[in-house]
Each structure stands twice: as C-alpha cells, then as structure tokens.
C-alpha cells in the first residue's frame, strides 16, 4: 500500500500514513486526466506545426527558411 509522510510542525512528530482508497482513486483519476491533457496539448502542437508547414509550402519556403524567419 502506498504511503505518505506527514510532519506535524506543531509537535515535530512525523507519521507515515497509508493512502486511503479514496486518495489512491483520486491519484489515478488525476493521472488519467493529466495524460489526456498532455495528449491534447501534443496534438494541438502537432496541428499547429503542420499548419505552419502548409503555409510555408504555399509560400515556397523550406522548413529551415521558416525556422529562420520565426526565430
């Protein structure tokens, strides 16, 4: 069972506590949401890059020339 360390600063007592089923479920849900958000972010970035390259192609620019122009 995963655990967490909790230090009570008012007493100095450190306790290692097992995560509850709710905490584990929340952690898994958060991880799933994070993975989905990351995938969406990467897809959006890829789409934007493709759009840039399409515009560059219409203008007759190479990828290197486009990179230079945008840097």
């Amino acid at each position: 069972m995963p655990t967490k360390l909790v230090v009570d600063c008012s007493t100095g007592v450190t306790t290692e506590v097992e995560l509850t089923a709710e905490e584990i479920a929340q952690m898994e849900a958060d991880a799933e949401a994070a993975a989905q958000a990351k995938a969406e972010e990467e897809a959006a970035a890829a789409a934007k890059q493709a759009e840039k390259e399409a515009i560059a192609a219409r203008l007759g620019l190479s990828a290197e020339e486009l990179s230079t122009l945008l840097s």
Partner: protein, 175 residues
C-alpha cells in the same frame, strides 16, 4: 545560514519510499518559508507542491536546461499524477547516477498574509552524464488563505520519493 533562519521540521524518507511529504500545522510566526530538498524519485524526478491541500488556482513559469538545450514554458499549474499543483523543481530521477540526489530550494514569502501566495524555486540534478536538468520556477497560488500546510509530491503516476530523500522546512524572520 543567517541566524534569522530556524529549522521548523525535517524529514527523511525511510525504506520503501513515500508518495508525498507534508508539513502540516506550519506555525504562523515567521515572515517567509524556505524548503530545502535533497530528493530522488523512482521516476522522472519532477517534483510538485500543493499548498493547504489545494488542487486548484495554480499558475507558473519555468526555465530549464538539460545540459545541452534550454526550454521555457508557462502553464496554469501542473496537472500531474498528484492533481493540479506547482511544479516545485527537479529532484533526482531514476535514470540518474545511482545514489545521487537532486537539490531544490523553494522560497515562499509572506505566507501568512491575506494576498495571493507566490513561490519560487531553483533546483538541479546530479548526474554523471551530459544530461542533468536544472530548473527555475516562479508561480502563484491565487488564494488569499495563509499557508498552513505544504505537500511535496512526485509528478509521476504512482511515483515515490526514495529512501534517504530529505526535506527541511525553515521559517525566516525579517529581524
């Protein structure tokens, strides 16, 4: 270290590792807080921080270097395995040289005030290779509550701080 620093609490992770390290019931008698971490995780090494257990209202900027390149980004907090939070720095990663630990210093000024809370951190990894990350963060928690607890978490799903990772919370007085 300046005499105005006082170590409030320190913790060392035992065998088996832990998913998070929390400082609770933080005394409201200092001006600023500092957390020094010597840490290593069993994953990427990314370390997050939540204030008062909150999983909302974070935003941040990041500047980092890998040893061969640099990067920057901004985000509305970090949606990691631990839910929304600050990214608080980089600790040692499982891919780093064995038995090395990353270092981070996290600074939280005016933590008892009634304004939004800000924080910054600087951190680095120890790795006997070209790739060794260092990162600077600055962030804001858009909440006016006094900071009474701080939790450090790993970014990775099911990730843990490994044995012998340590964290020390200091209180700083301005006189």
């Amino acid at each position: 270290m300046a005499t105005t620093y006082k170590a409030i609490a320190t913790v060392t992770v035992g065998s088996g590792g832990v998913t998070s390290i929390s400082f609770s019931n933080i005394p409201q008698t200092y001006t600023d807080l500092v957390i020094l971490v010597s840490g290593r995780t069993d994953g990427s090494g990314n370390m997050c921080m939540q204030i008062n257990g909150s999983t909302t209202s974070y935003s941040q900027i990041r500047l980092g270097g890998t040893g061969s390149s640099v990067y920057t980004n901004t985000s509305t907090g970090q949606s990691g395995a631990s839910g929304n939070s600050f990214l608080a720095g980089i600790s040692g990663a499982s891919s780093n040289t064995a038995n090395t630990f990353g270092n981070a210093q996290i600074y939280i000024p005016n933590y008892t005030g009634d304004r939004y809370k800000v924080g910054s951190s600087e951190s680095n990894q120890e790795n006997n290779a070209t790739t060794a990350y260092m990162e600077l963060f600055a962030g804001v928690w858009s909440n006016t509550s006094p900071v009474t607890s701080i939790t450090l978490l790993t970014y990775d799903t099911g990730g843990k701080f490994v044995q012998y990772s340590t964290a020390t919370l200091y209180g700083i007085k301005n006189t």
